[in-house]
């Protein structure tokens, strides 16, 4: 899990760097700071389980096992990217690893996850679906419609709310009166649990229970993971709406730093082992960057392809 978390962090830092060099068209929404959630949840999933993702989706892709080089190529708008350059940073999918795609409409992934859960039930397999979304999405109508539907049909879906306190610049407390989004689960008659989203072991345990519940036909769970993004909403956002003390406090709770400290306790991993893992990750990321930069752009006329199957 440490390796995956570190991989996401360094990947995002690299994306930020490439953006600054004008190599990334459009915008980017970085996952840095929230790594424990994607990794803690996806470590409980099999390759043939599904996830749905959001505009802040690079971390989900990596955690579910998508290839770094093809993610990076997509972010750079290259033909070798997962979506042949048609999706970009906000729309990466890898159906080979059950990553059903990132939607950039806030809250739109929830009903789609329900549909994947319904399909699992109808086909009689024992897969599960993890559905990632943010605190902002929990104010969409689709949140209500989808969770209710999954609940009444006992579908194998794990609703994972990544509560990073701000929906763009809007603070959670100004747009909802409940402190825990997990409490909303009561309205649907399903378990709701709020956990420290910056502690990968806590997230892992909560997801483990929810996955077990889903896989054994007992229905969905809502897990709220309290977290914080290290950067602004998107590339153009300096996030001045966040008090300095708040940012500093959350940076102290950095999920990777905390997990590393835990791992360095006696009888777990040695510093040298961690360094080795980090080294391997950095090499892999350099390879991904090289692959993405050297890959060709799609031909302009390819814009007309793939509208229909």
């Amino acid at each position: 899990m440490y390796k995956k978390m570190f991989e996401i962090r360094r990947f995002e830092e690299k994306v930020f760097e490439l953006y600054a060099q004008n190599l990334v068209p459009g915008t980017i929404h970085l996952y840095a700071g929230e790594e424990a959630i994607a990794v803690g949840v996806c470590s409980n999933l099999r390759k043939d389980d599904y996830i749905t993702s959001t505009h802040r989706g690079h971390g989900h892709c990596i955690a579910k096992g998508a290839e770094l080089k093809r993610i990076m190529a997509e972010i750079l708008g290259k033909k070798t990217g997962y979506c042949k350059g048609k999706g970009g940073s906000m729309h990466i999918a890898d159906f080979n690893v059950g990553m059903l795609g990132a939607t950039a409409v806030v809250g739109a992934g929830l009903p789609i996850a329900v549909g994947a859960g319904l399909s699992i039930k109808l086909r009689g397999t024992d897969n599960v679906v993890a559905c990632f979304f943010g605190d902002g999405a929990s104010n969409q109508g689709t949140f209500h419609e989808a969770i209710n539907m999954a609940a009444i049909w006992k579908l194998p879906v794990i609703f994972v709310c990544e509560n990073n306190v701000y929906a763009m610049g809007t603070r959670q407390s100004t747009v909802m009166l409940v402190e825990n989004i997990a409490d909303r689960a009561i309205a649907y008659g399903i378990p709701g649990v709020a956990v420290d989203g910056n502690n990968v072991l806590t997230v892992y345990e909560a997801a483990q229970k929810a996955v077990e519940r889903a896989r054994t036909g007992q229905g969905p769970t809502l897990i709220e993971c309290k977290t914080y993004r290290h950067k602004g909403h998107s590339r153009i956002d300096p996030a001045k709406y966040r008090p300095k003390e708040e940012v500093e406090e959350w940076l102290r709770k950095d999920p990777i730093k905390r997990f590393k400290e835990k791992l360095l306790q006696p009888n777990t991993l040695l510093e040298t082992e961690i360094r080795q893992i980090e080294k391997e990750v950095l090499t892999k990321i350099e390879e991904a960057v090289k692959f993405a930069i050297e890959s060709p752009h799609p031909f302009a006329e390819e814009a007309l392809e793939d509208v229909y199957a």
């Binding site: 979506c83 409409v105 789609i112």
Partner: protein, 324 residues
């Protein structure tokens, strides 16, 4: 050949496809056990296929279509019913941003074999929220196919094609057509998308019409024959893909075009068809193109008001006479 209603034809298509392919399933509000759909299209199917495959849903249009999208990209073939076409507005993100774009946006990685059935059309005094014809909204979204069957034969054949396909299909039905009878063979057949049907041959004027307006146009054609005006009626059957070739060939022959559609005139179905002919075949036209469509108003309730806005034989005849 035996005659069955449009509604029965749709039901036959659903039944046959569900028997043929176990991954086909239906979902929608009140389509199952108690109602069999507000217009009874799915009546009786729950008895044969059970509640799992004929699935009653909460009143959650966005989740109905979203769930259908999620199911379609993971190995099943959902057919979702939205009780009235007007209510597709509630599910517009899932239809236009998700279903229609997933294949393209993800670089062709996955197919979205999804059918959304819904009735359009005015004429039964149920006012502004249950009477609209919104086909043009969906024609405007690349990635969707739009079917507009006007007869029981076309309804069954097009629905089968829709269910077997690899793309999201927005399947428009019409309230006034449900009880209408027509010849439907008992043997297996399908109707391909993008192939218009010349419902009546003629040489003086081409009328392109869809859904219920096909029947109004056919009545007009019959009436005008006595006056020596020969009208050809072309039914596109699908608006996306649109069979431009058949429409233009007809216009080349007659030199005159009237487009009849029940939706609002501005930026509507008739506008698109008229523009296509103007762009690609203007040299063959001997008169200006005429459009007969609803004025740009919501559908009113009171019968005289409602009848005033729906295109009818009278308004079609007037348009034909202006150019014939």
């Amino acid at each position: 050949m035996r005659k069955i209603t449009y509604k029965e034809a749709l039901r036959e298509a659903l039944r046959e496809e569900m028997r043929r392919d176990p991954t086909v399933f239906l979902l929608g509000e009140d389509i199952g056990r108690y109602w069999g759909g507000a217009f009874k299209v799915t009546k009786g199917l729950v008895e044969e296929f059970g509640d799992e495959r004929v699935r009653d849903t909460p009143i959650s249009e966005s989740a109905i279509i979203g769930a259908a999208v999620g199911a379609a990209i993971t190995g099943t073939r959902p057919v979702a019913e939205i009780m009235f076409g007007d209510l597709t507005a509630l599910a517009m993100d899932q239809i236009a941003n998700q279903a229609a774009k997933i294949h393209y946006m993800f670089g062709g990685q996955v197919k979205v074999p999804l059918v959304i059935r819904t009735p359009f059309g005015a004429g039964v005094n149920i006012a502004a929220h249950h009477s609209q014809s919104l086909e043009a909204w969906f024609m405007h979204v690349p990635g969707l196919y739009v079917a507009v069957p006007s007869t029981p034969y076309d309804a069954k054949g097009l629905l089968k094609t829709a269910i077997r396909g690899s793309n999201p299909v927005f399947f428009c039905e019409h309230k006034l057509l449900y009880p209408m009878e027509g010849a439907v063979p008992e043997d297996e057949y399908t109707v391909p998308f993008g192939v218009a049907d010349v419902k009546r041959k003629g040489s003086d004027v081409t009328i392109v019409a869809t859904l219920y307006m096909v029947h109004e146009a056919l009545s007009v054609a019959k009436g005008l024959e006595a006056e020596g005006i020969s009208v050809e009626v072309v039914d596109p059957r699908t608006l996306a893909p649109l069979d431009k070739h058949t429409i233009i060939s007809s216009v080349k022959k007659t030199g005159r075009l009237v487009v009849v559609s029940e939706d609002c005139k501005t930026a509507g179905v008739s506008a698109e068809i008229a523009a296509t002919v103007a762009e690609e075949a203007i040299d063959y036209l001997d008169a200006p193109i005429k459009r007969v469509a609803e004025p740009d108003t919501p559908i009113p309730f009171s019968p005289p008001l409602e009848q005033y806005v729906i295109p009818n034989e009278k308004s079609i005849i007037k348009a034909v006479r202006e150019i014939a």
